[in-house]
Point group: D3
């Protein structure tokens, strides 16, 4: 029934390739099927102004999409002279999600900036970005430990994200573009490896949906995030 032939609770093929960007302190090319996002983590030696002299660091994110990552070319935001509301909303979400993974009091007065650039888009770019951004962030923390900047990895938990939605009134996991563009409802979930909820965003595209439908989407999200978490751990060599 799904255009891709997937079962309703089936993820697209997942992959995380670490070390993709030669210069970055951490990096990961994440693929959720045909959605490909390059995530890099850049260590900066200063924390933002509002955290000066608190001993605390910060994690922030920026998000972009190559103009022809999509079916029809989108304007280049640098040429238009501003980031769209959608872009800003997504990068604020990624930043909040990844800060939930790290004990910011244990990275010193530094900032880690996660850049998530969509190389190719086929639905779910923000959830792929969060999932891959976690891997890049983790690699960056290892680089910091290996450089003696921190003693142990200040990771509180893994973080994964996935989108679910009502496609032809059926709850399905990990929407691709064909599904997303016609879905009746769309929800993004950010969950930790131990099951905590970091962020939930559900939107009815057309008709309002019922609470029970929302709970079924949440159940699908748990299935998807478990799969993502397992793959993140495998790639990072976590037990």
């Amino acid at each position: 029934m799904r255009p891709s032939g997937r079962a309703t609770d089936e993820m697209r093929e997942l992959s995380f390739e670490t070390g993709y960007a030669k210069h970055a302190e951490g990096s990961c090319m994440v693929k959720f099927g045909d959605t490909h996002v390059l995530c890099t983590a850049s260590l900066e030696s200063r924390t933002p102004p509002w955290l000066r002299d608190t001993g605390k660091g910060w994690v922030t994110a920026e998000y972009g999409m190559l103009p022809r990552a999509t079916h029809t070319r989108g304007d280049r935001e640098a040429a238009r002279g501003k980031q769209s509301g959608r872009t800003q909303e997504i990068q604020r979400l990624i930043g909040r999600a990844l800060r939930a993974a790290v004990d910011l009091t244990r990275i010193g007065e530094r900032q880690i900036r996660i850049d998530c650039d969509v190389i190719q888009a086929d639905g779910g770019t923000r959830t792929a970005a969060i999932s891959g951004g976690f891997v890049a962030l983790h690699e960056c923390l290892r680089t910091m430990r290996d450089a003696g900047l921190i003693e142990t990895l200040p990771v509180k938990d893994t973080v994964a994200a996935v989108s679910c939605g009502l496609y032809k009134n059926t709850p399905v996991l990990d929407l691709d573009y064909d599904e997303d563009s016609t879905a009746d409802a769309d929800a993004n979930f950010v969950l930790t490896g131990t099951g905590g909820v970091v962020e939930i965003q559900g939107t009815a595209e057309g008709e309002p949906f019922a609470e029970e439908q929302f709970l079924r989407l949440m159940r699908l999200a748990r299935i998807g995030c478990d799969a993502i978490t397992a793959e993140q751990k495998r790639v990072l060599g976590l037990r």
Copy 2:
């Protein structure tokens, strides 16, 4: 236990004053306690370009805050030359929420623009804006009917919104600024009068929260939205 002395499931004092703005096709000054938002609805004779020749209209929203609506003065966005990511995120949310209230195929190729300007802020400005914006929108539709532009009101349902959160680990309804600034989690709910879910946005500010906690927040939101809906109907003279 709450700074305001309210019960955990108690709303702030609510009021909706229609006809506040002399020139607008519809308007409402909404107050959730000390949060005051002026909502105006402006009828425009053209639908956005992407809807030309579809027979469909559109509802959109803009959001702003007077610089000294807050405890300490914020920059004027017009002077800074751009709207913040937060502003854009909020106005996109208001627009989506209000479009759920109207049958856009029945307003003709027109646009209704809802301006929500925060005159005074004390937490929950976006949910007050949605709740008051619905009233302004409804008034505008009546103006359109009285002018003979439409025959009947194309209202599908009422729309109300409220924020809930975990304050000192207890779920509470309708956060004010004192609570919001220290809450562990914060969730905004947009619900229709008949109980449908239009939008859910939940964020863990510090520690991830559990699914059960989220469900308790949703229950509080239903209590709050019922009270808001009742007051909206009373003011609008709906049965």
Copy 3:
């Protein structure tokens, strides 16, 4: 003869409501008939860079208009990404006018920022803003005195402003929108309570006007500013 039925030297109904904005150090909702402007005064602990180490403070102003304050909705300046020339011209005028009221050497190296936001417009927004801005500024100075930041109020004089114009070739006081939009000439006067001239701006909209006509406008302005000054003093409890 005037659309409103007023005599040529008759002001619209005036009111100044202090303490309108809960958070501001001083505030005033001023009404000149249907023109309503919310004026807030915000105390900032630093003087502008060019006054550092001079012992002098500064008073500045910003001006804005809610998009639907007017008959037809205007673009939101924050969304357009810049303030119009008109806005900048007005806020520069307000700032100059209010600096004439205060001995800047006696407020310390601080800045007081006056925000004037037009909630509803019916002509004369800039003169209402100056007149109400003076009240907000005066309230702010009292807050500073009560907080022990200054010993006495460094007020040199009261400041009031009004517009006059040639309507159907007759000089009239305090133009409302109907008059302003068809006036042959338009002049704004900023006067002190003791009769000094702070600013004069007269513009021929169509045909040039004669010097005698200008002098008659100035005489009307004195009548209007006397009435405004009296009301400002009454509200502020000045003798």
Copy 4:
């Protein structure tokens, strides 16, 4: 007593050089002493959108200053990415002033754009720009007549402008930079050749001034504008 040794009612040396810019439909390099402004008039074949199908044309102005026209270099507005409030205020003034000279119903649905660029500044750049802008505009109208676009020159009157001020409490004509930077009050007058008032802008820089002082400034302005008008007529060959 004046730094320049001029009498209180003495203008600086005036000159208008027409035909300065090879490509423009009209042009004039105007000099008020060491203040040099290049004014060009460019004919555009379309009237602004709000005048379409009215048969009316428009005259507008833009103003700029070379970065090193002044004692210390100013930022280049093109590099800063926006025109200052001062620039916008001045170019709006120039446009209003020059529209008073022309019968806009007799130039067809065209626009004449007057560019006033300050090559060197020594006080009074806006009044020099208006006075020189009139000459450029007049030349442009002649070019239009010679090209057969109009039959007769649609000039209603000449337009001249000058600044006066209180320098060490004495009213003086045509302030230069040394005077302007320390003046107690500063007023700009735009007058027609036949004595009509187009625009008056008077500002107290420090203390408010008295009405009689203002009238004396106006009298000086008449002397100055008479001299400017005479020179404009001489250069343009008007009787």
Copy 5:
């Protein structure tokens, strides 16, 4: 002697991977050693306004760099709100270079937009972008032919580009970052497959260089462009 151990006339390892971007009409991931640029060609159905009704089409280019393509993270241009002078200079160069490859009168009133996004930078990004951009453009023309929009490929010649420079006073081919950052002179050459010169840009970074040195750089460029051309032809299956 070169940091990389290459001979003075030796290119880095070259590769062109076509079909890299799923959605684009033409695409190529080009690698000059560790410099990786993703080039996509997007077909747009309208020519730019200045070519309307001429029967002619256009080829243009945009250039960007992922923030962490470089050793230290650069600002994201979309976030800064403008493209740097360097970016604009490069994208203008790429556009000019690629227009030399195509007979613009034979693609109809269409535009082909080449996006060159640097995924990883190690010197020579603009020349890699031109060389890879040609391949993407060629693929796009084939897509157009296969879709029946054009009958034959309107390719006038292949286009390749390479940078040369004086490294420790020795002319070397295809500078990498280590060489480029300390080079005494730097020159970019854009040449056609049949030997024509499309663009030459040579800059002395420190001391001026002699004409003979420049001629030696040009000779190296011919060697490099021959190698690039051969590889382009191989990948495109041109004889």
Copy 6:
């Protein structure tokens, strides 16, 4: 054969007028025929941030064009809110060219900013700007020496620039607008007085050109730069 009747190796009439701008530390109005550029040099007491504490100074340039310097009026960049890619490309070129003239280690931690504003354009504005900018820079260095800021002039060599091109397939020197707008190729050369090459930029406008043609353009450039250098030396009183 040339529209101007000049020989193929003949420059337009050259003139350099120093001391044109009263306030600047150095200035020069340069004319290449009808191309007139006002160049000013402004001394700033601080070096750019990246040179702090290196003992080194900097020379930079900005470029602008009066809106009606050209045949048809161009938009004012300050009004459009950004400098075009062309403007930025030119000002970067001017800056690089002039830095080649000065020993930056000998001017102290200061910056000299060269503003080049085109008063009238007839082709070759960037090369005129470089040639005149050198004269303004040299005057500024003399002002610095006379003020005791430096002991001797830190000038390494003179710098001149000229454009050459293929006009109707014939190499010609110093293109004017009529030639430039139809040229087949266009090359700018920046040369030092002793013959060193500072910058070469050659572009084929239509068909690629041959290497021999390029060498002939370079020979013409030497002829032109020799003439410019001689005139620069004469005006500056250099032997």
